[in-house]
Each structure stands twice: as structure tokens, then as C-alpha cells.
């Protein structure tokens, strides 16, 4: 993992000090809430329905055991004993008091974390493939590049007052587990014929009110020129992006209104000016950052043997929650934060502590946070899997449902968020109960369900097989059902199939969609999206509405 040096450390410390001063000016009344607002937002502090909310960046979703423990400590000390992992690979604390926040930020700084740029119209935390450095199909570990982007985008002088927020996603593998084409900029690591590392670049993707799939800008930009290229895209966007309408301000609207070709031409013209100049990353810096991410080692022989699990259900968990690793003898284990009927993405302080301990004991001390709101131990020797399973089972974190229908992604919704039209969490809980009750989730296998409480689409409902969007229908909470979205290589936006549903009808409607899929699919290996493409949405529509 990356380790701060004196420069990183000083940058974060300066921010903590600055914010401490701003908070005390706010508490003494020297600053009005209006004046304080842009300042607190730059430090990840939101005002929610009930209280201030603090959003902490988990840099590209990578945590050390020590950092996870610090998060547990904060949850226990300053919040109500739990934290909420978000679809943006961040963690949110819903109940801190303002006066404590500088102290929380200081504790975060002690473990090399911060809340800088987790809100506001700036470049946000980078999304990354949670299996980076472990995935069997990887061209190159993208973590060093994400760290390079983290540093470049932090307190960027030119891009801190953009038309709208801005998100970058990076994958190091041909299969896309970072939804790169659903981000403002999507990067895929590639190698050219000379073996040099570079990037295939997409721009103009995004969810929200006007979901769009990103368009390709270039097949290859040299890794050392990456920051010049990103600067070029952002510069064009910052100057030309709309600022008169909040809902038309994202880069996707600009790309669409200019046309992909014209937008690309502008970016290339800017890049021609910047390339090779000060924005060129020194080779040494790339090597230096890379040195923090050595490839994982194959486990020792005595570990390879393993022991028998003593808790039930191991094989099912192995099948669902364990992914292949590029190193022989290692595996990646997904820790589902979706117990049946639970609140998606929540983890208690005790669970965080326990996962930190398990990561240290069995997995080299590293943890990843996924955009599906789960955790991953990326490098577990296969021989440790039974013991790991037993331990997870005992703390209620062994739900064997990774990637299936009950692994529901959900935003906080009306229970916390003041932008929400409808609740998300209770709906997720009800669906989860319904689908697990008669084994529908099990039978369906891989299937994604995502719920957003409003059109901001924090729950990524557009890119789910089954998406649910909370809408306000004459003061009542309703849910719009979409089918056929995807956030992977075959990225697609889900389509609305019929009128909105009231909350109590949602679980049954979703169950019918799943049942229809089970009936329609040719074999167990035909995915939901394939079935839908083959049959069209009619039979599903009928299943939902013809009752």
C-alpha cells in the first residue's frame, strides 16, 4: 500500500488545521452557515436530515487493517457505533457533532486518510477495480496510477470550482469492474507494442438524471502524459461545461451537445499544447509509487494444505464469495455487507475491528471496499479460506450472496438524505427477505439489483439488471422499475418497463421479474441481460403488471 511521505503528510495536516480554525469560527458565530457551507463541503461535511454527515475518502477503495480499525474507532467514539460504506468506495458517518469533526479529521490524518474533496464540484475519489493487483485477467495493477491521480487531483488549483462534481474510474483489466464508462472519465490500462504502459480513455459517462455511456477519446495515451491528458479534458470541460442549469452541468451533457468528435478535437488540441511540458510525470515518481505495490507472493507450502471448516455452508460461500487470483494458491474473498434483511453497506465498529484482525491474520492486512458496498480481502492463501469462513460466520459476515440478487446496492435514501424522494434501505431489506425466502436469489445466481432514493442515482440503479428509482408521486413514495442496465464491458442503461410501483408492491414485483427470468432462461448459464435481450421486455412487463 502507498505510504505517505513528509509532503503528503504536511498537505493533509495543513488542511486539518485550516478546518479546525474554520469550525471554531463557525461555532463562535464569526462565520454564518452560508459562509461556512462551501468550506465544510470541501472537507466532506454535509448537513443531512438529522445531523451533519461526514464522508471520508477511502482512496480508490483500498484500506489497511490499521485504517479500518481507525474507522471503527471513529464509529464507536463519535458516531452510533457503525459506518456506512457507499457505492463510491467511501465511508459515511451519519451522526458526528460538528465540534468533534476536526478531531476526527486529525485521527484520520494519523492513519493517512482524509475527507478532502468528498463533496463539492471538484474531482472526487477515484473508483477502482476492487480486485486490482489480484485479478487473474489484469494487464497491470492500476493502484499506482490511482495514487498518482489522487495526488494530482488533491487541491487542484484549476479544477476545484468545476461546473459539477467529477469522477474518474480506473481498471487494469479488460473486464470492467469499475464501471469506467459510467464515469466522467474512464481509464483502462493498456500496453503498446513497445510494452509501455498507457491508457485507453473514455469520457462523458455518468448516471443521474441523464444517464450516458462514456465515449472513447483515445486508444492510447502514454502513462507519463496521463496527467497532461486529464488536464486537457478537465480544462475543456471547465471552460465549456454548462453552469446555468445544475442538471445539465455534468461533462456528459457537454460531450453530447458538442458531439464526441468535436469534444475530442478540443481535448487533443489542448493536449498538443500541454504534452511533454511540466505536466509530464517524472519516470522516477512512477517507479517510486509502483514500489509501494509489490506483487503478492505465493503462499508457503504449509499454508496451502488448509483445514476443514467447522461452520456450515462453506462450499456455497466458496462458490459465491471467492474469486480467482493471478497468483497460484491465493484467492480473493468477498465479505458481503448484505446479510438477508440487513441495511446494505453498513458495518458495525465491532465488525470493522474483526475484519481488520482477520485481514492481518489471513490476508496480508489489506482490505478493499467495492462499489457494490462490500469488502474484499484481495490476497488470501487458499488454505486459510476455511478458517476465514468460520471467523466471518461467527461475526455475521459470511452471507454467501456476493453478486446475486440479495447482494442489493442501495443509497441511504429518505432515512438520511435530504434530497431523497423515497426510502431505499427498507425497500432493499424487504426485497432481500422476499428473494431469499423461497430460494429465488439462490436459483438466479448472478443478478444485480440497485436502488436509488432519487434521480441523483447514488445507488447506480441505471446499471443494474433490475433497477429501482424512488420518485415522488403526489407526496407518496413510488418506485420506477428499470431492466437491462449494466456497468461492465457491455455497459448499458436500464430501460423503464412500466408505471411506478408503490413501496409495498416492490418486493413482489421484483420477485416476479426474477421468477420470469428463471422460467425464460435457456440454461443456468444464460445471464439475465442475455435473456432480456433475447425475449425483449414484454414477458417481464407482463409478469410485473398483469396482476
Amino acid at each position: 500500500m502507498y505510504k505517505y511521505d513528509a509532503i503528503d503528510r504536511a498537505l493533509v495536516d495543513e488542511r486539518v488545521e485550516e478546518f479546525r480554525d474554520q469550525v471554531s469560527r463557525r461555532l463562535s458565530g464569526e462565520l454564518s452557515e452560508d459562509q461556512f457551507k462551501p468550506l465544510r463541503l470541501m472537507n466532506g461535511v454535509y448537513l443531512q436530515l438529522h445531523a451533519y454527515m461526514l464522508r471520508v475518502a477511502i482512496p480508490y477503495g483500498v484500506l489497511s487493517a490499521k485504517q479500518l480499525r481507525a474507522l471503527a474507532d471513529i464509529a464507536r467514539r463519535y458516531d452510533r457505533g457503525y459506518g456506512h460504506f457507499t457505492t463510491r468506495q467511501n465511508i459515511q458517518f451519519n451522526w458526528p457533532s460538528l465540534i468533534d469533526i476536526p478531531e476526527i479529521l486529525e485521527r484520520l490524518a494519523d492513519v493517512e486518510m482524509h475527507a478532502i474533496q468528498t463533496s463539492g464540484n471538484c474531482i472526487r475519489n477515484t473508483t477502482m477495480d476492487p480486485f486490482a493487483g489480484a485479478a487473474a485477467d489484469e494487464v497491470e495493477d492500476p493502484r499506482p496510477w490511482c495514487e498518482l491521480i489522487r495526488q494530482w487531483s488533491t487541491l487542484h488549483p484549476e479544477f476545484t470550482y468545476l461546473p459539477r462534481k467529477f469522477k474518474i474510474a480506473v481498471t487494469g483489466a479488460p473486464s470492467d469492474r469499475a464501471a469506467i464508462r459510467a464515469h466522467d472519465i474512464g481509464l483502462r490500462v493498456v500496453r503498446n507494442d513497445e510494452g509501455e504502459t498507457g491508457f485507453e480513455v473514455f469520457a462523458g459517462g455518468g448516471l443521474g438524471r441523464t444517464p450516458r455511456i462514456g465515449v472513447k477519446l483515445t486508444d492510447f495515451v502514454d502513462g507519463r502524459d496521463l496527467l497532461a491528458y486529464l488536464t486537457s479534458i478537465l480544462r475543456v470541460y471547465n471552460l465549456a461545461g454548462r453552469r446555468d442549469n445544475l442538471y445539465k452541468a455534468r461533462i456528459k451533457i457537454l460531450v453530447e451537445s458538442m458531439g464526441a468528435d468535436a469534444f475530442r478535437d478540443e481535448v487533443e488540441a489542448t493536449f498538443a499544447q500541454l504534452r511533454g511540458g511540466v505536466h509530464l510525470t517524472p519516470r522516477e515518481e512512477i517507479d517510486r509509487i509502483r514500489s509501494f505495490f509489490p506483487p503478492p507472493l505465493a503462499p508457503a507450502n504449509d499454508v496451502a494444505e488448509g483445514s476443514a471448516p467447522s461452520r456450515p455452508g462453506f462450499n456455497r460461500w466458496l462458490l459465491r464469495n471467492v474469486a480467482a487470483h493471478k497468483v497460484n494458491g491465493l484467492a480473493s474473498a468477498i465479505i458481503s455487507l448484505k446479510p438477508i434483511g440487513g441495511s446494505p453497506g453498513d458495518a458495525t465498529a465491532d465488525q470493522m475491528d474483526a475484519v481488520a484482525a482477520l485481514a492481518e491474520k489471513y490476508a496480508g492486512g489489506e482490505i478493499r471496499v467495492t462499489k457494490e458496498q462490500n469488502l474484499v480481502l484481495p490476497h488470501v492463501p487458499r488454505g486459510y479460506l476455511p478458517k476465514l469462513y468460520d471467523a466471518l460466520f461467527d461475526i455475521g459476515l459470511a452471507t454467501p450472496n456476493a453478486g446475486e440478487a440479495t447482494d442489493i446496492v442501495s443509497c441511504p435514501g429518505l432515512d438520511y438524505c435530504n434530497l431523497a424522494n423515497a426510502r431505499s434501505i427498507p425497500v432493499a431489506q424487504a426485497i432481500s427477505h422476499r428473494l431469499s425466502a423461497d430460494g429465488l436469489s439462490d436459483q438466479a445466481g448472478d443478478l444485480t439489483i440497485k436502488i436509488s432514493g432519487c434521480i441523483n442515482a447514488c445507488g447506480h440503479h441505471h446499471i443494474a439488471d433490475i433497477g429501482l428509482l424512488g420518485v415522488d408521486k403526489r407526496g407518496e413514495e413510488h418506485y420506477q422499475l428499470t431492466l437491462g442496465g449494466s456497468g461492465t464491458e457491455d455497459a448499458a442503461i436500464g430501460q423503464i418497463v412500466g408505471p411506478g410501483l408503490s413501496g409495498e408492491n416492490v418486493p413482489e414485483a421484483v420477485a416476479r421479474v426474477v421468477a420470469a427470468y428463471l422460467e425464460l432462461r435457456i440454461s443456468a448459464s444464460e445471464k439475465f441481460s442475455q435473456t432480456l435481450r433475447r425475449t425483449g421486455s414484454e414477458p417481464f412487463k407482463e409478469a410485473v403488471y398483469a396482476h
Binding site: D5, W152, E158, T160, Y161, R235, N238, G277
Partner: protein
Amino acid sequence: MRISAIAHEAPTIDEVETDPDADAVAVDGGEDPARLEALAGRMNRIVIRFPTFKDGRGFSLAARLREHAGYEGELQAAGDILPDQARHLIRVGFDAAAPDELTPAWERAATRPVRVYQPTGVDARSAAAERAQAGRARKVASLNVLFKDASPEEVLRHALADKSLGRIAALSSFGVESAVLLHLIAEIDANAPVLFLETGRHFPQTLQYKDALIERLALTNVIDLAPTPAELARHDAGGDLWRRDPDKCCDIRKVRPLSEQLRGLDALITGRKRVHGAERAQLERFELVDGVIRVNPLAEWSYEEIEEHARLHELPQHPLREMGYLSVGCWTCTEPAKTRDDPRSGRWSGSEKTECGIHGKPPEPELETSLS
């Protein structure tokens, strides 16, 4: 950054476009960058107004003016800007600000030192550059220990044959002492790039000698670096800059063309020696200048050693040597040396100037710099 309560009065861009004498303009951050850049060349002052602090277009407009259009005049930010934005304004190229609300916080903000991660068009400092610099400084220190007693050949073999310093070239003036270094280089790699600063002011004898050495040593990759005609036209249209301002003359004829080339290099071999005295008396075999490793294989050689080597290998002599020139530069600025002990005494004689600037000064590693 200069802070003032009232923004400069300046005409609008419409007015400026029809007034060829105007040298100042005030625009909104949303102005078409191409339109503004088209007239930036004749402006001495540009005011960019921020309608609200959230509208960040002015940042990119400023960055484009500085970085794309090379605008060097005053750039003032005006309007609804916050002291918390001062650091950003400065780093994209503003050197003046006139906020709507001028609070005491502004003065603090505009002078407060800040640490930065990323370089900008006007401020090349960055965490990466700083770290790379520190890493290279460590490398240079260890090379000096490692090659403490090594011969020039060993130093050159390390640099050229092993390519262990990265992309490298040699710099030669094809002057009276140049033959030895070029000979040593040619023995190892006659294809190594050799840079020659073509100032357009060389003695004809130097150019003849250059051709002769290239032939004798079979050098295949000698590269002439010259100032662009546009630069010359802009700064030295009369051709007398060397007399008026020799530092500026060396800057456009030598320093800039070389630093342009150095962007693509990790290391540069030079023929400098301690016996040249003055700034060079403490010269190390390896040093770090502006982030580029300088390799000075002959740093510790005496004149006797140089001459011995030249005799032994029957290397041709610079034609001016017989006439008492011990160090040769541009004909405008070179006389025969005053004494044998100070061979460079004939350079820029009658002025304080002793170096042209291409060998810089090794910068102090810095963690923190004030932006003001």
C-alpha cells in the same frame, strides 16, 4: 500577489478589438478563450471577472492565457472571489486580485506558503518533481562516492555504454579543449548525441574545427541547437543584444535552446574542469543542475593531462589556440586569455560575467516556497 480594493478600469473586448492601441482588457471568466488569446500578445493587463466564486471558468481561462498563449503581462482576478481561493488563483497565473469583499483574511491568504501536489503552467513545483529531485540528488551523491577514483573512461562507460543514467547526451563547444572529451566519447560510442549551441556568432575557425573533429572521430550524431527565428526577431532584431545585455543574449542563444533539449534528457556530459577556476573550482564528477545529472568526466584533469592525451592520440588543435585563445566562445565576446592560469579570462572580458548560464546553479531542495 497584489491585492487591491478596486479592480482596474479596462475596456471591453469589443472595444479592444477595434482599437489597435489598447493594451488592457477586462473580460468575464466565460469569455471565449480563443478570442481573448488572439489579442493577448498586445496586452499589458488583463482583468478576469468572477461573477460568483463558484464559477471556476476564470481559473482555466487564466491557465490558457499563460500556458497556451504565453501571456506575460499582468493578470488580475476581480469580482466575487474568496480568500480561500487565493492559493489557486496564484497558481494558475493571476498576479493581482481585486475582490469585491476585501477582508484582512486576503492579505494572509495571498502570502501564506502552501504545499502543492501538482505543477501548473506558471509554477512547475510539484511533489513529484521534488521527490524526483531528491532521488536524483541521492543518486548523484552516491555516484560521486562510487566513482571517486575512477578514470574518465570508466565514468563515460558507465554513462554511455551501460546507459545507467537514462537518456544522455554530451555538450561540446568544439573549443580549444573539446577534442579530448569527444575523443573519449567516440571511443565508447561514436553515435552518442553531441549537442552544439549554434549561436550564430561562432568564429569561422570554430565551425571548421567542428567539421574536422567530426570527421576525425567519426561522430555520427552531432546536433546543432539554435534559437528560433521568432525568438531572435523578438529579442535581438538589431543583432546587438550581446553588447546591450549579454546575459539576455546568452539566455536566448544558449540557455533556452539547451533547456528545451534537456527536457528529453536525464543526463548531460560536459567538459568542465576544476582548473577553470572560479565557479568551477569545486566541481564534482557528477552534479545535479535543474534536475538533470551533469557528468563531468574531466573534472579533475589538469591541463598537462589534457594536452598529453591530445598529443598521444594526435588530436587536431583548434586553429585559434596558436593565437593565444585558451577558451573560445562567440567571437563577439571572446578575446585571447589574459594568463595561462585563467584560461577563461578572455570570455566577456571587461565585464563581471564569467558564465553564460547553461551550467546553472544546483538548486536547493525545497519543501516549501512562498507563493507571493
